[in-house]
């Protein structure tokens, strides 16, 4: 069981600073040994629009979106209905708001404990520069039992670039919020975890890549991948690497290929529309056997779609979007901490197998911030090709399919990498054998490599299996817990490696199952179609696919499974 959870939504508009409250609260909570997740939701305005900080405080690191909120603190109710899909109020929730404004009917419908509290006035009374959000931070900190000095210290650190009077006001308001907070009963999750890290999935993916050796990134800004780049820009500077903001995604992927050709492990990050633009050149990386990693942070599609919301709908393009026969790697991190492992693994595999690796992260894990234990790193490295022949052939046909990769500067191994089909030397060729042999070589190096146990996370041992990929893992495992409470034992298979599909391992993982649900966050059942096309299943196969923008819900999955299984 997952223990007690407490979900808190903080909403407001016009630059009220709700996100900062969420961040500081979660950091202070983590410092006390708590675990939790922070998601953010925004209106379409760049500044001053309605914002929501969505906190979920938990006892484990299995982070799903909160199903409903136990606490809602609203600075105002402007456009609150925008969040109607996301912020559902629990029955008996604590709703804290200004006395002057009435909550909208959908909030009142949950019959909450309504606490009308003049936060804005009290903040203004406290200090001439007083801010209501800092007052709220103190108030919520008190409700969560967080030490005042910890809140103050974290706040001063965050506001270190602000004017002194501004910082004084913040501290004064936090203190006032703490002392003036009313007494409210809240059932708090247990704390006591040690060694907290605090990071978003985008940062985690960036960290995994840099730790795996990436020293060059070229990319074009796109939501929700831009913050990967922002973090990596600083990280690369520390490591004497380079980040180039390219003129478009076509340039980004090709700069990445160029740097990789120079022997520098390289990555680009993007989202669906950018991935679509890159696909021609990913084919070039495959054909020329240039190692590149493409971190694709999925959002609602197609086209501009819903850029700020999550979806797992780029699986098809990642698997099948390249022209020609272009075997490549597709991986998906299972949660925020796993972004470190999976992006590192992708870089290692791309480097070792000399191909393109597409990593399918998404907005949900990419832009959510979590408190986690120190993340696991990927240690596995692909062994290099052994080429003892004096006559260097860049595309030598080897048993493993992997040939020795020379880089410019290496003495006497000069070759021209080519997107044209070529012979072993690299000379363009339209001959039948060269095409057959090179195609087979590029396929072989991916299919014969032993990927070990990291291909998936397999949990439980029921006769019903839930198969998913990437960030759906948390919701699927939550569903498994809920089903277990109903007496339905479920095993879960969360695929980390999607291509090449580890068919034998997946078949073994599903042994003795009679029912398989393929769970994913998209409309068309892309994983379901893929698995059905790639494998024979002895089990009854069901698809549970639900598109964004609302995160996958373990409860909804459990309900659907229970209905099917108990019929």
């Amino acid at each position: 069981m997952t223990g007690t959870e407490l979900s808190i939504a903080i909403t407001g508009a016009g630059g009220a600073g709700v996100i900062s409250v969420g961040e500081l609260l979660l950091q202070a909570w983590a410092k006390e040994g708590g675990r939790g997740l922070l998601r953010k939701a925004f209106g379409p305005q760049i500044r001053g629009g309605e914002s929501a900080a969505l906190l979920k405080l938990t006892e484990t690191e299995r982070y799903t979106a909160a199903r409903q909120y136990d606490v809602l603190l609203a600075f105002d109710w402007n456009n609150f209905t925008r969040f109607g899909d996301e912020i559902r109020i629990a029955r008996d929730a604590l709703v804290i708001c200004e006395p002057a404004c009435d909550p909208p009917p959908e909030v009142l419908a949950a019959q909450p404990r309504l606490l009308r509290f003049p936060m804005a006035r009290l903040a203004a009374d406290t200090h001439a520069e007083g801010r209501v959000n800092m007052f709220a931070l103190g108030l919520l900190g008190r409700l969560l039992g967080l030490p005042l000095d910890s809140l103050e210290q974290l706040t001063l650190q965050k506001l270190k670039a602000k004017p002194e009077a501004y910082r004084h006001a913040a501290i004064a308001c936090i203190s006032a919020g703490t002392t003036q907070a009313p007494d409210c009963e809240l059932s708090l999750p247990k704390m006591g975890a040690k060694g907290a890290w605090y990071m978003s999935g985008n940062q985690a993916a960036g960290l995994g890549a840099l730790e795996a050796g990436v020293r060059f990134v070229a990319a074009y800004p796109i939501t929700p991948a831009s913050d990967v780049l922002e973090w990596m820009a600083g990280g690369l500077e520390k490591l004497n690497g380079n980040l180039v903001q390219a003129e478009d995604e076509l340039a980004a992927i090709n700069m990445t290929i160029g740097a990789a050709f120079g022997g520098v492990p390289s990555l680009t990050a993007t989202s669906g529309p950018g991935l679509a633009l890159m696909t021609e050149s990913i084919g070039l990386a495959v054909a020329s056997e240039t190692p590149v990693t493409i971190l694709n942070v999925m959002r609602g599609g197609p086209s501009t779609g819903i850029p700020t919301k999550s979806e797992q709908s780029d699986l098809n393009i990642a698997l099948h979007g390249l022209h020609g026969d272009a075997p490549h790697l597709v991986l998906a991190p299972l949660d925020i901490a796993d972004c470190v492992f999976t992006s590192g693994w992708a870089v290692n595999l791309a480097q070792g197998l000399q191909t393109a690796a597409i990593v399918l992260s998404d907005q949900f894990i990419g832009q959510s911030t979590a408190v986690i234990s120190e993340p696991l790193r990927c240690e596995s490295q692909v062994a290099g090709a052994q080429d003892n022949d004096n006559d260097y052939l860049r595309y030598r046909l080897t048993d493993s399919g992997v040939s020795t990769l020379a880089i410019p500067g290496d003495a006497d191994q000069r070759f021209t990498a080519d997107g044209l089909e070529h012979d072993e030397k690299g000379t363009p060729s339209a001959r039948d054998d060269d095409h057959q042999l090179q195609l087979a070589k590029r396929a072989r190096k991916l299919t014969t490599y032993n990927y070990g146990n990291a291909w998936a996370r397999v949990q439980g041992n029921g006769q019903v299996a839930l198969v998913c990929f990437g960030s759906a893992s948390a919701a699927v495992n939550e569903a498994a817990d809920l089903l277990a409470r109903q007496g339905i034992n479920v095993r879960t298979v969360s695929l980390r490696l999607l291509a090449p599909l580890q068919r034998e391992q997946l078949t073994a993982a599903l042994e003795a199952c009679n029912t398989v649900f393929v769970v994913e966050q998209n409309h068309g059942g892309q994983l379901f179609q893929y698995l059905r096309g790639m494998m024979d299943f002895n089990q009854a196969l069901h698809s549970y696919s639900r598109a964004g923008p609302v995160p996958l819900s373990g409860h909804a999955i459990a309900t659907a499974v229970a209905q099917e299984v108990t019929v």
Binding site: Q27, A30, K31, A196, W197, Y198, M199, Q203, L207, L210, E211, R215, F216, A218, G235, E237, K238, L239, N240, N242, V244, A246, E247, D248, L250, A251, A252, N254, M255, T256, I257, G258, A259, F261, G262, G263, V264, S266, E280, S281, G283, L284, S288, V371, P408, G409, D410, A411, D412, R414, F415, T416, A417, D418, G419, L420, G426, T427, P428
Partner: protein, 274 residues
Amino acid sequence: MNLIAKAKPKDYKSSVKPIWCPGCGHFSVLNALTKAFAALGIDKDDTVLVSGIGCSSRLPAYVDSYGFHGVHGRGLAIAQGLKVARPDLTVIALGGDGDGFSIGGNHFIHACRRNVNITYIAMDNEVYGMTKGQASPTTAADWDHSKLTPHGPGVRPFKPAALALASGAPWIARGYSGNPNQLARLIAEAVEHPGFSFVHVLSQCITFCPEQTDWKAVVSEREAPALTDADAAASLFLHENGFQTGVLYNAARNAWPPEQVERQSTDITEGFRL
């Protein structure tokens, strides 16, 4: 006599033989490039030629250095990524007018603006040769030899030098395939220029534009030293006939990226530990 010690132009040629039409200007560019390499004493192992797609983009395979024959229009992007990641290498991008000014046009103007220390040789024959002679961005408006545009493209051609200047290129030269020795000098100077250097080469297409054999009569070497003033260069590039050769523009501008300074902290995880 000491002719052996130094590498000669032909030593820079690979064993792959060109498939260009006899009469093609690109042979001359290959010749000039190898002459420039020989004159500079370039180390083959530390040199990379990068190209896109098209007749001219076949060139890297014909040179005994490292090479990358990429996809259409993206050679400049590959070259810049490579040079930023490996500043120790000599990186030369090359390609044709369609590759560089049409499908790769955005990369061209941004490469001029970004000023990474690479050389870009655009072999301009005003036509798409690999796809049977369609009009390119530098084809005259009334050139009606292509079935695709039977009345001519009907739109004004780009002026590559003017485009480069407006985009911020610090060093611009023009050469001609009929004069490979001069072109060799231009390429050598381009490679030595510490920033983005653009060599626009008028390189005739014997197959689709046989009328370009007349270029010989109109091409002339510009005697005056390279302009350093952008206004004067703009005036030149907008009003000249496009057949003047030589180093036309040379303005001092710092290349990008600047040299890295040693960092105090190399711990990239510090921000994550609470």
